[in-house]
Symmetry: D3
Subunit: 271 residues, 6 copies
């Protein structure tokens, strides 16, 4: 997190002139941050950067990605009462949001651990906060997938509707030899065509598990399975996740990981 | 939404050099944005600002706050295929996140409509995205509550622990005659003291409904009820919301409105 | 003051490439900052942040809000000659402008001390510099009043002209239960109406002292005085300030505090 | 004024979420901006840029630099009531502050018109607002002087104290052939030495008028007068300005032009 | 190019207060932009965005990537003389720098056209200007290669020295299934190992053409050639480019494309 | 270099989420930076600021402007392997680009050392990077010339075409007494007129050496030589530089210094 980002996030929560905390006599206090639910810790690095910026001392024996238990102190703080009271909400917001994501991701990852399938997020993120959401996914053991339109190419349904798969694919390859190219398909025929074109990744978009199994069979029969990574996406939740994991795909991506995700509640208690 | 914000949000999703869309031959296309669930529309103003910036024409007969039905086209788009394909994800992310919040808020507001209680959000928001989350709350019919530490004073448990209620209250009043002062309490005794000091708002923090009823009785008996706004907060969900609404408080605030909120899924379909 | 602000303010005064100071051989020097008039110190915290950023050591036994006397050294500096010569003008500009404001505010506050009236500033500030001007007002003992359009609602003459007081008031209340609502009036009738609506603050706008006295009598007679804060504003200067303070209002606000205010001149003398 | 600046200045005054004006029903209204004192108009270009950004129509037959009379409408506005009520304070703050400066500058310029002396401002400006203050000086007929440390070199008392005039001058010349070099002096001897070194400008710093006359005589006697521009600065006010103008200097610079300057009050009246 | 970027680039060249052009009486003029050498046009889109921002009309029948001839007018301009004189240098700097790069790239691309080898640039770019330099490479027909450390993984000599190829490769794969992984090698043994690990791209770093030929033979003999993209880099110039193109690699990358590249000189002539 | 600049430059090269380096186990390593050609060191200050920001220790016995030899270690680094691998490219890009410029400038300066002529650069720089390019010129012993349109006035061919030299000159003088005024001429007649007007600097624009000699003769004959600085510019390269230096001008400016300049290659080798 850049200093300019810390200042911007703190500025959002503090406002232009927080005279109340200026008027409170400054004292040296201790405080502790305690989760109110079990989960996976994330956002620790961000919280620490905020404490550093505000001149607050901290100690913490955990790392991002560690399991945390409800009620067990996660971070010990010591410093100016004004500084701690000012930094409280922003740091808890990072911890709460990022740990919530990491916790759900970890659940999903563990649910499919036996299959070797990779759990990935999407670009359905909160505007301006993507890098923290993707990082929380990685902390939980998930795959951050493509970050933005620059770093890899996905040929989606709308691209195919406007340009056709072949034209879109040719432009994708011209975009640079260092970019992976992924094609979204909705049936076996398109999957075969995508594989023949040379796609690096094929995504089965909003298909049910049975149809995906069929597609993979077709690909295998035609010797096209091994040269591509296969991804399932669309309508996959914690309920049907295992079903999809058993289809034989390599990756399952879920928008839900970064949007209506769990918020892991933390409290800050001054001693 | 400022132009600098639009550029920043688009920049996050597009990256530094989206050569793929540059290489696609530009065409004029039509597209439509369609919700995949019923809900309350929010984020329309933001989506429109993005389309405007990208030179995309739109038409929409709805307004933020209107009810929308799954599958019914919400916005019609027309313009450059490159521009629409580039603006798609960012605009859907605004619509999805903000409509999700507005939908949940509307549900809560309607659930307590008979009691006249106001539903408010908190500062448990996504860093950098608060103003859009608070706006979605207002669109859903909720109260945005305090925006940041500057615009009103809340004397919370940690303030009282460090300074005592009296000292904290005196500093709060010195902070300016235009600021409301709210005090968090956990029992009737503190509520009485807060009211006697002259607090504008008293918040019952993490108390059960019965205890709140008792507190209000005490305040009434001592002629202190009418001069304060009473707020309940902490552990209130859609399940127990009505119970709290019947206690006699004026406002119920729920962190849940802005964090693990519903994401209302929208699709963009090029014709 | 954020680091990004320090860099921006220094950048304005230094420009893109101050080669002259780069070419001067660097030496370790001592210097002192000395006011050229009596007054109230403000801007010290800002000056110190600038010195810190530039790696200049300082010592100062005073605090913002202390009285300073012409010719008496306020801050001792020690460090790189290049750094001190570069930081000189920006730090003096903060000290000069903010101490000028604090000095005038202190005079006004002391002039009305017996009446218990609060002296407040307005939003007539220098664009981009408001938070420093409001802070200087607070340092001088004044009230910073509303910071911006978000943090409280003022229903001004133009609002009433366009919407009428009742409609404007209803929208103001819908804007959130944490916002104070102030209504500007120009006669007793409007003052009565504003009080009956439930305004938190009533401002007597550009009225002479006698008219204000009459208004307050009417409010008292109708039992409406105690529920509102009363503010006088418009055309109040150091000359007629005491006259207004005796009318019985609670607050007097003066645009003059932040605009054509005194500039307290400081010099920086290298030893 | 850049769009990013307009957004920043408006953002300071509007805050993050001005829900009150959002809730007011939007209407089309007319309004006019009227000065409350006689003076010189400045800030018109900035006000217009703000109206443009906010979608407000305007008409104005005056230009920056024109004389304006108390009570005579300066700008006619037409547009959304919300937009006008939101843009009011920021635009008036530009007009008030810049016209105040231009008015005082014009008075000074006219006071010395017969002598041909140029009136200049200094770097004693409000941090972050210098370019608007310097522009107002130019609009009033004054000279903006050096903008920052990059664009010209001034060898001031502190430079001389640390490095001596000769070393400082050599570095100044090495800083680039496109930069003017000015040297501050406090007596005839130093003035002579500065002229002999080849300074482009010599500033008589905090000297009384008689001493300046003597210095100029010495320079003339030694044939050094014509090759330098002579500037008087320090302690010069509207009271003693003419006295200094008659000494024979070319330029008089006054910090007072940009700091405790007149604020020319403007009102905005919705019809 | 974002509006905030245009304002920043113009701000660099104009400075804070360009009073000279303000004082020039504004006129409507025509002008034309003319290259002083033959080459490939690039930067046109950027120049046009600057003219748009400044309110200057333009006409141009060429597109980025077209061949241009010395002395033949490229862009016709019409508009305010002040605006054109202010926008001149910035727009010519974009045209000159970007066309210079595109011209050299085109030469290299054509030199190896028969071999089907792709010409790519590197991250040896001007800080802050990379996206324009990479875009110019693409306009010239080259490949932009990896943009930054996020979008693909390169395991370079220093990574291997610190971590060994195997550990580095494992971390690279954990970084996400959407990222290509490239490994730098300096001999056949390492090339074989990299291919066996499963690298997407192998770069022959600072190797002479003969050694590369040998490496490729080894890869072929072991059936590892077809699964990887082969890149040559280091010390390749226009002189030895063809030699390297004949080795059988797929891509040649040259830092020289973006640094000491040709500047294609353009003039702007007011009629 | 501001912290905000460091963060921006690093951000360009690292991207939003460089997970690969996050995954590499952090180690303490030593490394050294070694030039691959002889030259003049520049960019050291910038590289050091980047290392500081990244928490990397360094030692270096050289200073910007010192001569460096191919293969001789310039900077020793020690610190986190992740930090060094991340900071490598940005710091090398500053060193490479700035040392390239300083090296060429030094060659030119030495070539004309006997004549006393000053070597200057122009505004033909990379957008956004000018201050580093001008600084490298100064480090090499050159003159940075005018930085932007604000700090000095140049009346160029296009100004004269639109306004005539006299009008343009009058506006230039009105722009402020602290600005140098330079006039571009193409023949002796115009040079004479420019000198008579009082120009501080006259630039011979795209003239051959013989014509310049003639112009200077005319100026001398008319007693106008000593009052102006004479500059030659346009089409001057390292090949014909000495020829121009012998014409009697004071300054030679070359756009080539900052554009297709040498890139001095540096490597970073982890031990």
């Amino acid at each position: 997190m850049k200093i300019s980002e810390i200042e911007s996030f703190l500025g959002e929560d503090v406002g232009d002139f927080d005279i109340f905390h200026d008027l409170l006599p400054d004292k040296s206090v201790k405080a502790e941050i305690v989760p109110k639910q079990d989960g996976v810790l994330a956002g620790l690095e961000e919280a620490i950067r905020i404490f550093d910026y505000c001149g607050i001392s901290y100690s913490c024996s955990l790392m991002d990605g560690d399991t945390i238990a409800s009620g067990e102190t996660t971070i010990h703080l010591e410093g100016s009462s004004r500084a701690i009271l000012r930094a409280e909400r922003v740091s808890l917001n990072f911890l709460g949001r990022m740990s919530g994501i990491a916790t759900i991701v970890r659940l999903c990852v563990e649910a499919v651990a036996q299959t070797g399938v990779r759990i990935a997020c999407t670009r359905k993120t909160t505007p301006g906060f993507r890098k923290f959401e993707k990082k929380a996914v990685a902390i939980g053991g998930g795959d951050p997938h493509r970050f933005n339109l620059t770093d890899a190419v996905m040929i989606k349904d709308n691209h195919i509707r406007v340009y056709g798969m072949d034209t879109a694919y040719r432009c994708a390859r011209d975009a640079g030899f260092m970019k992976r190219v992924e094609i979204e398909v909705e049936n076996a025929e398109d999957a075969m065509h995508a594989a023949e074109l040379g796609a690096d990744v094929i995504m089965f978009d909003n298909m049910n598990a049975d149809s995906i199994v069929e597609c993979i069979s077709s690909l295998k029969e035609n010797g096209l399975r091994d040269s591509v990574v296969l991804e399932a996406s669309g309508g996959i939740t914690t309920d049907n996740l295992v079903l999809y994991a058993k289809t034989g795909v390599d990756v399952i991506s879920m928008g839900a990981l970064t949007h209506p995700s769990l918020w892991l509640d933390f409290g800050l208690d001054v001693e």
